[in-house]
Symmetry: C2
Subunit: 368 residues, 2 copies
């Protein structure tokens, strides 16, 4: 059987299933929903580059959503940047959604800074530093409510893209994957080009020691694992996917953070795993300092797809530098591009995305 597949997508894991999966997005209008949250883990020096400095990372998820809704941020000047001034991958997502318009929704997993935009509330709380071993409150409540949102969203669309924006989220991903018994050390991604694996591992070990639960207990209870070592995006993202994937295909748009969500999803509801795939960027898929496919293959037979974005010929240094491994992914950039390519029946390409991204970069970043 042959499937309709965008030319600028690489199938990194479970290729046949991945082709069958993305074929269902061909010519359809997916709905895009981004689950956003804050965790104080992002404020540990050296953990996150998703903001000009650790304190300002609280604003990044809200600002990313404003970018998608309004084409500019409201809660901050300009757009979220790394300490080196490299702009948010939200620029990529925004460009994909411009070329292939989709309904956009936001779900607040637990934010310190709310976007100037409507969002689904599921009664979550901002996340604490995972070194406390008590990083998330009421995970199951947010999971359950997001299931309801997912079931209802699924009635309104043929397919769903679930994204995330959580500064510090790869460290909490390491935390939850470790807690759930997966071999994740040295495997999670980073916004930094040189991945601070040792620091992340140390932080996670502190959290495990502080949480008061045995490794065996954590392994068997995904909600306990999230509450001890996760961030507030994970449980509602898993719930949203569980609720929707009962009836429609769901593209989990993200890098190694989505591997953690997949691990949570598997622990909560393994009946929907045949209806999901992970969609990311080439920069994550080819990253030598992390290993998304190794993580996913430990969890379930779920396809991994990568959008072949390439900024090496960009006229802007701030985009070119993505090729060195800075930023890599976020706001569902890779998955949104894949969805845009399939939704447009291949009319949206990597090349066309580059042009749109450069245009938006020129407007939002270089002229500031």
């Amino acid at each position: 059987m042959t499937f309709k597949v965008p030319k600028d997508v690489t199938f990194c894991l479970e290729e046949e299933k991945g082709k069958e999966f993305i074929d269902k997005f061909w010519g359809k209008t997916p709905t895009y929903c981004c689950v956003i949250a804050n965790t104080d883990t992002a404020k540990i020096p050296g953990i996150s580059a998703a903001g000009a400095n650790p304190d300002i990372t609280d604003y990044t998820p809200a600002a990313d959503m404003e970018l998608l809704y309004y084409g500019r941020c409201k809660c901050i000047e300009g757009v979220p940047i790394t300490p080196d001034g490299i702009p948010t991958p939200g620029l990529i997502t925004m460009s994909a959604l411009k070329l292939a318009p989709m309904p956009v929704f936001v779900l607040n997993g637990g934010l310190r800074v709310k976007p100037h935009a409507p969002y689904f509330e599921v009664d979550g709380n901002p996340g604490e530093d995972i070194r406390t071993g008590k990083s998330v409150k009421n995970a199951e409540r947010t999971y359950d409510r997001a299931v309801v949102a997912g079931k209802n969203l699924a009635k309104t669309t043929d397919c769903l893209v679930v994204a995330e924006s959580v500064p510090g989220g790869t460290t909490t991903a390491l935390g939850v994957l470790t807690a759930l018994g997966y071999d994740a050390n040295g495997k999670v991604s980073s916004t930094f080009p040189v991945n601070p694996h040792d620091l992340k591992q140390k932080v996670v070990e502190e959290g495990i020691n502080a949480c008061g639960l045995s490794r065996e207990a954590l392994k068997l209870d995904p909600m306990a694992a999230v509450q001890a070592l996760g961030d507030p995006m994970m449980a509602p993202a898993a719930g949203l996917i569980a609720g929707a994937a009962e009836s429609i295909p769901v593209l989990m748009a993200g890098g190694t953070q989505m591997a953690a969500v997949l691990a949570v999803l598997k622990g909560m509801d393994d009946t929907v795993l045949d209806n999901v795939a992970i969609g990311t960027t080439r920069w994550v898929a080819e990253d030598e300092h992390s290993d998304l496919c190794h993580l996913v293959s430990q969890i379930a037979e779920v396809p991994v797809l990568a959008a072949n974005l390439n900024f090496s010929l960009s006229r802007f240094d701030g985009l070119k530098i993505y090729e060195t491994g800075l930023v890599k992914e976020g706001v569902g950039a890779g998955g949104a591009c894949i969805a845009a390519m399939a939704s447009s029946e291949g009319r949206v390409t990597s090349h066309g995305l580059n042009d749109e991204i450069e245009k938006n970069y020129a407007r939002l970043v270089s002229r500031r």
Copy 2:
């Protein structure tokens, strides 16, 4: 031209436009979205029967939403009732949605008690007593954010039903209609069979005198009118409708409270008025103590449709009593029934609704 029209719907105002409007719902699956809020106006003795006593009216909107999502309430025992024990019209809405399933969403305009369910947050606040003349905060902010939600919801559905659940809401409707210069005294509906018009008028006059704005200033500024004399449902409901009705038909499901929302909508965006209609119950349409059609005809050439519900042959006294004018409408009961009839291509009828409502009444009310 002939239109496909459910047999158990009465066209009370703008009949031809109303038939053309509801024809667009024929065989389609509308999305249902209920805007809920609290106002302390409901706690003025004698104003609202949307709760067993005035203080407990704070729980009614949240409980209504739980009924729709879960088939039972979570934040209270049983279901919301009047002081006489008559159950919420949410039972009718729930029954309509069971017979003709629709995606269900909730928007929090400003609540003291939140539902155990996901909802759109637009950063509103609970409403104060309108006698203060400062009954709502940040009306324009909630309007703007709800516009964004409405635009995005409209991309996911062919048609939308916008409902409300706000105890005390007919008094705030009188407030805003009066502030906007309409002749509304004695025209708004009530959950009580004997409508406390004099009390409502007195409360509204107090609010107008306290608000610090001239009648002329109020008349020209719908957001100021809502902030002085409205409730927190009105601005986001108008915004949701404005955002959606740009592209799809929107049934405003409610009685005289929706006349107030229509007045706000007209003041904010009169370009979408051709794409809306008001859908209510026969009990509101035929009410001798209020006059929805007179209100609407002052505002715009917008159709008014009524679902011909008739509980006179019910085996339950708690439903039969609806025929005496108690409760009448709420939670978009009338509009949800009309939408269910059209959506099912006429297979859902008044008779079928009665059976379903009796079944749910038996399960939720009489066995308590």
